[in-house]
């Protein structure tokens, strides 16, 4: 019954053009080539010319290969059976498990009505003091980790994945090295977190078009769970690869580039994904943490720049630690007033003193004499770096706050911290 077309007119990059009738925009097609069958998606229609981006890439496609249109847009299976499974960018199993075809849902669905969102108010604990204490992660937040190649951003995401208090974790990998993929898989398995995780993995060796699908697939599945009342954490790494894939396709389609070759709609494309982060009124939530590597450590590069305008803050991962300056969780005020009464005090005081420590370091580097106060700050700064900032620290928020008081107690007298007397009376450690 299905009609097939065997006349491929044009093959440019990963985009092929066939002549066909009655084809819907963004509809899916399957192409049978000598190398196997690949899916493809309609990205432009011009009279009877249909432009398709081929998920598996155009390599090896011959002009007389068979194209069949499937009559529906890209879909992915959803539901509990996905838990513990690993798929590639077009939703095919990578873990030798069965192919899933039940409960198919469209990817890239419509946006959420703003009036059905609620003001975020629940904290997600991660066991990382630099996040929990200083820049709390909030349910439904979208937060990128700005980093550069070589930094342990995947390690950080993996740790958050295994420790975060959420119901379901969805990991979307884009352009990852194969060993990074194995690292994620092993880490999740080792810590028994795989059973509540779903992985969509596109590695650097896979065709580039599949990279574009990873965020949409991950978020469509997440949305489905969230509507059922689940709290879902979506980890996307690395969004810069996604943006680069967008660039490749848009240039193939001869679109006019806007900034450093990226398409003019980069902001809208990123926003369509990040804005899927939501806390539904009377249902679950989606939280997004995304690694974004900054080319040349340049925050004004179009990728981090556009991302920064969309997301609700950012973590800077630099020299292996979450940098306290520049990192910002815009939503932290919504939650850190209700955790423990000393949370904000510890957060503000420790950061202020740490800023002074940094200034002292500069002074020291310039060869100025160190005063007694400078010595105290240096001692404090070292302790802070070692006991709080190090990513190897893994303690609950309350423990971290107690530790904060201990560090302050060890280095300063109560007056020197500038903390309100009532707080000092209540929390200052009595003895060493």
């Amino acid at each position: 019954m299905q009609k097939f077309y065997t006349r491929i007119h044009q093959i440019v990059g990963d985009v092929i053009t066939v002549e066909a009738e009655d084809v819907g925009n963004t509809e899916l097609a399957s192409i049978k080539t000598r190398r196997g069958t690949s899916l493809a998606q309609v990205i432009r229609l011009d009279r009877n010319k249909v432009f398709l981006q081929v998920f598996a890439g155009s390599r090896g496609i011959s002009t007389d290969d068979r194209v069949v249109f499937l009559g529906h847009p890209m879909r992915v299976a959803s539901g509990e059976m996905l838990l513990g499974r690993i798929f590639n960018g077009s939703g095919r199993p990578l873990d030798h498990g069965p192919e899933l075809t039940d409960h198919l849902i469209d990817i890239g669905g419509p946006p959420v009505n703003p009036v059905k969102r609620i003001i975020p108010n629940k904290m997600i604990r991660t066991g990382i003091p630099m996040i929990d204490v200083f820049n709390s992660l909030v349910e439904s937040q979208k937060l990128p980790v700005f980093s550069i190649a070589g930094e342990p951003y995947n390690e950080l995401l993996a740790r958050i994945a295994i420790q975060a208090e959420v119901d379901i974790i969805i990991l979307g990998g884009m352009g990852l090295k194969y060993d990074d993929y194995l690292f994620f898989k092993d880490t999740l398995e080792e810590h028994g977190a795989l059973s509540r995780s779903i992985v969509f993995m596109h590695t650097a060796a896979d065709p580039i078009v599949e990279c574009l699908l990873v965020p949409d697939i991950s978020l469509a599945v997440a949305e489905n769970f969230a509507l059922e009342g689940k709290r879902v954490l979506v980890l996307l790494t690395d969004m810069s690869n996604f943006c680069d894939a967008l660039k490749v396709i848009s240039i193939t389609m001869e679109q006019i580039p806007s900034n450093r070759g990226y398409p003019g709609d980069l902001y809208s494309q990123l926003a369509a994904r990040y804005e899927k982060a939501v806390d539904f009124d009377t249902a679950g939530s989606i939280t997004i943490l995304a690694a974004t590597t900054m080319p040349g450590d340049d925050v004004t590069h179009p990728i981090p720049d556009n991302t920064g305008y969309i997301t609700e803050g950012q973590f800077y991962l630099k020299n292996g630690v979450i940098e306290p300056f520049g990192s910002l969780s815009r939503l932290k005020q919504q939650v850190n007033g209700e955790t423990r009464d000393d949370h904000r005090t510890i957060m503000d005081t420790m950061i202020q003193l740490f800023a002074e420590y940094r200034e002292t370091l500069e002074k020291q580097a310039m060869g100025f004499q160190m005063s007694a106060w400078d010595q105290k700050l240096i001692r404090y700064g070292r302790l802070f770096e070692e006991k709080m900032m190090s990513l190897s620290v893994n303690i609950a928020l309350e423990k971290a706050l107690d530790l904060g008081w201990e560090i302050l107690h060890e280095c300063f007298s109560p007056e020197e911290t500038g903390i309100k007397q009532s707080m000092i009376d209540k929390h200052w450690p009595k003895s060493k």
Partner: protein, 578 residues
């Protein structure tokens, strides 16, 4: 033209669809794509031969070549009438709460709901009587909408002089029932309803004349009102890198600005920020009216993940609603956040049209579009002698925080005030992060011009000394220069910076600003003698501490007076006589 004019889709690329047609079409005409049971709204943006290119206000997923398109013969319009206050609309004026009731969590495609309820009845009071001669924009009667007299006006599109034929007596009317009949000189009779349609891209001009913006618009933000004022009916822009506090600044302005009505256009920004406004405004009480802030607010919200074409129209929808309330003699403030997203929407469409790109791929008409948008602001004198105004404040999100980019530059050419936010100020937690060294305003402040200039001078001088100190160190700076530096820092800390979390400091009324500014001016202009730098630093630290307390003390309270006395005592010990 009784037969509906139709066309057929021949090309689909992203949110642009090309349609072939036989009958005449109009530029910017609204058309509907008939896709199964769905009708997708779109607008003609270019006509070439027998092909019309249309931007679609919805996702184009699933559309097919050959599908039918119905032209409506109308420009993209909004419905203007009572019931808009406290409502939340999308960029095409669909009420979002009603959409949620109908469609649930998501914005389903092709669902359009009338902007104003057709069942709600309003208590109408006539103001004219049969035989009166009226023209477009004249008030025939009014209904009460929240706190305002919402006038029922002769439709703005009517030209010439009309005669009131009949007018309904006081009573309850819905928007479907005519409240008056008016007759043109040729004897043709037209019914007038409580609501009317107006095309969004055309300014409403049913007024006698446009005046020069002269009166300051008090935002209760000291840095703005005293040093970089905004005038009622004027325009200003707030460019700044991400995280510098544009949105917070706009939110504060929307709460405290001394205007009747605030229209918020959340254009291509985060949904979370709109949600905060939607959820908190009904609970915040406006001190001037004692009513929830939402009662005087209209929100147009087309967040970043909503269709791009509707984002482009959302600022026009917002400004048209603002102009409508201006026609009633009200003062309206339109806050657009952010105009860069609007410009990007234009860029996306221009790219799809394959127009030759200008700088950073923005279309060549970017400047003229931005200019004509801001030009819709203004103070107007209506035919009945009363005045109304629309003030436009646009946030700009320059790529990479670099003000040299096209949107910022095009905006700077047409606005009357520039509030530039800087990353270094926000990093130093100096809020509002408006950088006094780069910002400017062409409007008059309520602070004496000479004293205001002096304030700018002190800040510049302080900055010069600070730059110098970086090189020569504190030791190498002369005492009098150092004191200038301390004065500038002091001025910045206690006057320019404002604590948004302090209920008193958050908003400073005009009288208090004038009083405190003149007080500080006195300190700035005094010769203060110090033995050395340490004592100068100590003195200003003390003074700063006192002022902090002063800023938190309610205006004209006992506490306010007490602290003022303490400050004066502190000063008396230092200031040389005269």
């Amino acid at each position: 033209m009784t037969e509906p004019r139709t066309g057929r889709i021949v090309k689909i690329s992203g949110n642009m669809v090309t349609v072939s047609f036989d009958s005449p079409v109009m530029q910017n005409e609204v058309a509907y794509i008939l896709h199964g049971a769905e009708r997708l709204k779109s607008e003609i943006i270019r006509v070439r031969g027998n092909l019309a290119e249309m931007q679609v206000y919805e996702s184009t997923e699933g559309l097919k070549i050959g599908e039918e398109v119905e032209f409506t013969g109308e420009l993209l319009s909004v419905e203007l009438g009572p019931g808009m206050l406290s409502q939340v609309f999308d960029g095409l004026q669909n009420p979002l709460p009603e959409l949620a009731r109908e469609c649930g969590f998501f914005l389903s495609r092709g669902v359009y709901i009338e902007a104003l309820s057709d069942t709600q009845a309003w208590e109408f009071t006539p103001l004219t009587s049969p035989g009166d001669r009226v023209r477009a924009g004249d008030k025939l009667g009014y209904v009460m909408e929240k706190l305002f007299k919402h006038y029922c006006m002769v439709p703005f599109s009517f030209s010439g002089i009309f005669e009131v034929l009949t007018i309904e007596p006081p009573g309850r009317f819905t928007k479907k029932q005519a409240v008056a009949q008016i007759r043109d000189p040729d004897g043709k009779v037209f019914p007038v309803y409580l609501s009317q349609q107006w095309p969004v891209k055309i300014p409403i001009r049913a007024y006698a004349e446009k005046l020069k913006p002269a009166e300051p618009l008090v935002t209760k933000m000291r840095l703005i009102d005293s040093l970089f004022p905004v005038a009622r009916g004027g325009t200003y822009c707030i460019p700044g890198p991400f995280g510098a506090g544009k949105t917070v600044l706009q939110q504060l302005t929307s709460r405290h600005a001394d205007v009747d009505i605030v229209v918020i256009a959340a254009c291509g920004e985060r949904a979370g920020e709109v949600v905060e406004t939607i959820k908190t405004f009904p609970t915040l009480i406006d001190p001037r009216t004692d009513r929830p802030l939402s009662d005087r607010t209209v929100i147009i919200c087309n967040t970043s993940s909503m269709p791009v074409a509707a984002r482009e129209s959302s600022v026009y929808t917002a400004v048209t609603i603002a102009e409508y309330y201006r026609q009633m003699g009200l003062h309206v403030l339109l806050l657009a956040d952010s105009t860069s997203r609007w410009a990007q929407a234009m860029r996306e469409m221009s790219g799809r049209l394959e127009e030759i790109p200008g700088e950073e791929a923005f279309p060549a008409y970017l400047e003229s579009h931005i200019a004509s948008f801001y030009e819709r602001s203004g103070v107007v004198r209506l035919h009945d002698g009363s005045c109304g105004s629309v003030t436009i404040g646009g946030a700009v999100s320059p790529a990479g925080g670099n003000f040299e980019e096209p949107v910022t530059q095009a905006t700077l050419k047409v606005v009357g005030a520039f509030h530039g936010l800087s990353r270094s100020r926000s990093d130093a937690r100096r809020y509002p992060a408006i950088d006094p060294l780069i910002s400017w305003s062409k409007y008059r402040s309520f602070i004496d011009e000479e004293r205001k200039e002096r304030g700018h001078f002190i800040l510049r001088k302080g900055n010069d000394v600070a730059q110098m100190m970086k090189v020569v160190g504190e030791e190498g700076t002369a005492l009098h220069d150092y004191v200038d530096y301390l004065k500038a820092e002091f001025f910045d800390f206690v006057y320019l910076q404002q604590n948004a979390f302090d209920p008193v400091d958050e908003a400073t009324p005009r009288e208090r600003q004038m009083y405190v500014y003149n007080f500080i001016y006195g300190i700035m202009e005094s010769e203060i003698a110090f033995e050395d730098k340490a004592s100068a630093l100590h003195f200003f630290q003390q003074l700063r501490q006192q002022f902090r307390g002063w800023n938190s003390a309610p205006w004209q309270s006992e506490e306010f007076g007490a602290i003022e006395k303490e400050i004066s005592a502190l000063l008396l010990g230092r200031v040389k006589s005269g």
